[in-house]
């Protein structure tokens, strides 16, 4: 260390939390301030620029927008409820598996989690369409015309739940895995039948996970536009679609800003509610502090759990008696595998459809052919979009991982009252609907000339990818045994060599994971690319989006298969490199 500072014997201890500064500034400039600005824009008159509530009056006054707002909240609430209801048993089943099998089965949930919503929804559009699997099955069975499956409310809900169910499951899983199954055994020895043990012990202990799953799914569905646009009728129009129309076709940023502000308001309100009940830090899987013993909320919750226990305990006892002691032990695994199959199947079903010899989409394909892949790889439009996505993805991965690693290191090693705000800052992109991020960045970049540039898209993707990279790195650093670094120092290694020889090699799994998942989230990101790319800088998802709006072509299926294969490969690589919990076999 050079300079006069090292000469001073009592060196002031330097707080590592400062390392979070670059990332925090980045998010402040590209997320917080633009969002606030969006808010102020929403309060102006689009002609004169003076203060005005006209946009809000229009949003609530005009029937069409009031209905869109109502739709959005109804669909988001229904999606959230269904995701929790359907996801809870799956997460429960996963949490109860032995470690090795749990990891394998969780992969099957994580794979659709990491496949973009665009590909998943597109898969349903193809599979449920007039030439899809269901129609094919009807014809093969001679049942005549299949029912109309697309463009209605149920299919929108189905596809949204399909898209977001993995998010719900992976949010609930860490909390459930953390519940000591010995507690359920203990409840058994104390006289609780299995149903009572589940409702009175497991359910209350899993509530923090359920709540964070609910929060994340609700916020994600508020800003959804892909599903209603692809699979819904005009009846299902959601606010995300309205925002896109206002920005791209009407050029009415003020009204888009007002709609965005409503989404932010709803997201913040859900966060506040969540914070009141569970404390925000449990989003990251930390244990929630127990509430005061006498709090009415806690009493009500326990009372509800007890009545559910009585109700379902009685039901299951009665049923077991009726059926001669049959306990339906097979039901949970059967249910779980059925859900996993529905999650994974659409991705797999696209593969045979892409290798078709026909000139249009059909299932089953009449014969094997590579023509659509040939067309994809020969098309300059598709190739330039793919290459651009790769380039932006790589840049995003490097920048995000660097900023997130510094911040995670700072948070793991530093201390102080600022730790919590810093943590929340890095999680903010998760609790702001991505459509709002996109509009906010659009109005910021429009003023600094970053619209329709690759750099603009990359900056937006970095905001988008920050939480996942940060969470992965923070988890790696929190489990890192810092005594090993001290051991290296006592063995004569200086700080630099300790970092290079001990700290970084041990963090390798986390760093690679952060790079891969930051890349993936950029590679599949549509919303930011849609706004910032303009019509000029087209990424692969944007190209797919443009194509799917115009026509459902086999090239699109081929492109989707390329995306799915790439995502699977990278995802498996990250999984393979992830440090095993109980040490890798030598």
């Amino acid at each position: 260390m050079a300079g006069p500072a090292s000469a001073v014997p009592a060196r002031r201890r330097w707080n590592a939390l400062w390392l979070a500064l670059p990332g925090a500034l980045f998010l402040l400039l590209l997320l917080v301030l633009p969002s606030l600005q969006l808010l102020s824009v929403s309060l102006t008159d689009s002609e004169t620029g003076e203060f005005s509530l006209a946009a809000y009056e229009r949003a609530f006054g005009a029937r069409v927008y009031a209905r869109i707002i109502g739709n959005t909240f109804a669909i988001a609430a229904q999606t959230t409820g269904l995701c929790l209801l359907l996801g809870y048993p799956l997460a429960y089943w996963l949490a109860g598996l032995p470690a090795r099998r749990q990891r394998a089965a969780t992969l099957l949930v994580l794979l659709p989690f990491w496949t973009s919503a665009l590909v998943k929804n597109f898969a349903w559009l193809v599979l449920l369409g007039r030439t899809g699997i269901v129609a094919g099955a009807f014809q093969a069975l001679g049942l005549g015309q299949p029912p109309d499956l697309l463009f209605n409310r149920p299919v929108v809900l189905f596809a949204m739940v399909h898209s977001l169910l993995p998010l719900a499951v992976v949010s609930m899983l860490p909390v459930m895995t953390g519940i000591d199954r010995g507690l359920l055994q203990a409840a058994g020895t104390l006289g609780a039948p299995r149903a009572a043990a589940f409702w009175r012990i497991h359910l209350p202990l899993s509530m923090p996970g359920v709540a964070s799953a609910g929060l994340l799914v609700f916020i994600a569905s508020l800003g959804y536009f892909i599903t209603p646009a692809l699979l819904g009728s005009p009846q299902e129009t959601m606010m995300g679609q309205a925002i896109i129309t206002q920005v791209q076709q009407m050029d009415n940023l003020v009204f888009a800003a007002a709609l965005s502000a409503l989404l932010i308001g709803a997201a913040l309100l859900s966060c506040l509610l969540y914070d009141r009940v569970f404390g925000l830090s449990s989003v990251s899987g930390g244990a929630a502090a127990p509430r005061a013993a006498g709090s009415p909320l806690r009493r009500a919750g326990l009372g509800l759990a007890a009545s559910l226990a009585t109700l379902f305990g009685g039901l299951s006892e009665g049923l077991a008696r009726l059926l001669g002691g049959h306990r339906f032990g097979w039901l949970l695994p059967a249910y779980a595998w059925a859900i996993v199959a529905v999650l994974v199947l659409p991705l797999l079903a696209m593969v045979p459809m892409a290798f078709t010899s026909a000139s249009f989409l059909s299932f089953p394909p009449p014969g094997f052919g590579l023509r659509w892949f040939a067309e994809y790889f020969a098309s300059p439009v598709w190739m330039s979009a793919t290459l651009r996505s790769f380039g932006i993805g790589l840049a995003t991965a490097v920048v995000t991982t660097a900023l997130a690693a510094l911040a995670a290191f700072g948070l793991a090693r530093g201390a102080g009252r600022l730790s919590r705000p810093v943590f929340l800052m890095f999680m903010t992109p998760m609790i702001v609907p991505s459509i709002v991020v996109a509009v906010a960045l659009f109005q910021l970049f429009a003023r600094v000339g970053l619209v329709a540039t690759d750099a603009g898209i990359m900056l937006g993707h970095t905001v988008h990818a920050m939480p996942i990279a940060f969470v992965i790195l923070l988890a790696t650093l929190k489990t890192h045994d810092w005594r090993l670094d001290q051991a290296a120092a006592t063995l004569g290694a200086d700080r630099r060599r300790t970092l290079l020889r001990v700290t970084l090699p041990l963090m390798r799994g986390g760093l690679v994971g952060a790079l891969i998942f930051a890349f993936l989230s950029s590679f599949e990101e549509l919303t930011v690319a849609l706004f910032i790319g303009g019509g000029l800088r087209t990424t692969l998802p944007k190209q797919m989006w443009d194509d799917v709006i115009l026509q459902v072509s086999p090239v699109l299926v081929a492109a989707s298969v390329v995306v799915v294969v790439l995502v699977t490969a990278l995802f498996l690589l990250a999984e393979f490199l992830r440090p095993a919990r109980r040490g890798r076999a030598a």
Binding site: D180, G182, L183, Q185, A186, A187, G188, T189, L190, G191, A192, P193, R194, A196, A197, R200, I201, P204, L205, P290, A293, G294, L302, A306
Partner: protein
Amino acid sequence: MSAEPRAVGAAVMGRESPSKLSVRGIAKRYGAADALLPMDLDVWPGEFLTVLGPSGSGKTTLLQLVAGLIEPSAGSLFIDGEDRTHTPVHQRGIGVVFQNYALFPHLTVRENVLFPLQMRRVPAPELKRRAAEALGMVGLGALEDRFPRELSGGQQQRVALARCLVYQPALILMDEPLGALDRKLREAMQMEIKRLHRETGATIIFVTHDQEEALALSDRILLMNHGRIEQIGTPQHIYEHPASLFAADFIGLSNVIQGRIGAGGVLETPDGALPLPPEAPRLSSGATAALVVRPEHVSLRPATPECAALRGRIVESVYAGSEFRLLVTLGSGTTIVARRSPGQAPLAIGDEVVLDWDAAQGRLLPA
């Protein structure tokens, strides 16, 4: 809970009452591995039985079988004379105190203690009275609104005990309940458990790998090794009459001298012929055998050149407060431990000594 403490010793040793727990040929296999070989066991009402053994000896498996947490591969199990082999865990009415206490983290101390009563649909006024009584018994009445995580390890242990005692289970199983506590607290809790056992008259099966704990607490010790019973008996009996080298080695400190039975009732060893104990089992001449002598029975005195007895050299001396432990190496290399009170004439490392013991204190075991 019965008001008057029972005369445990007499009831146990007299074996007039029917057994509280009776295990017949119970066994547990996991695939090809035997966790527990077929075993028979009777536990008497009011008894404090310790299941002692090294890890992997099958003691926790036995406890889980009795509690109903796992299904046996063979055999049957009777509680108070009734077949309970396949009764589901929640209907067995057995109390279990788990190693990590298994307190419900989302419930307060009182709610934890109320839980088993609520499961039994005990009416409200009695519920309150009994919970208060159980908490009072372990001295935790003042902390009943705390959450488990707000308590110390010893306090959590007491809550676990109260939660178990509150419904007066016929049989209480404790799975290394003191394993997580430090030494001082552990000894205090041992006294506490002894007192609760005396006051409630409960039948307790206590699993531990700590032989001192087993000696201090038990009416009887069940010593297990490799999934089977090694020896069962009172602590004193097992200590004084170990049935095997394993028992001699696992309980207390033992000196083992290997040799062959020679003519005229002696054990031929590389260090000379040693007299056999008078009540030694009859072993044919030439059979290999081991003589086991406890350190407190070995006396040492400075060697004189003409003495022909067992001789050795002091190689280590450990001060243990109330005594010195001396390590003596014999000519053959065998090491013998002896105890010596600080009052006796001091012996130093390197001193040549003569070792001696009353032949009746030795145990001859086939080796």
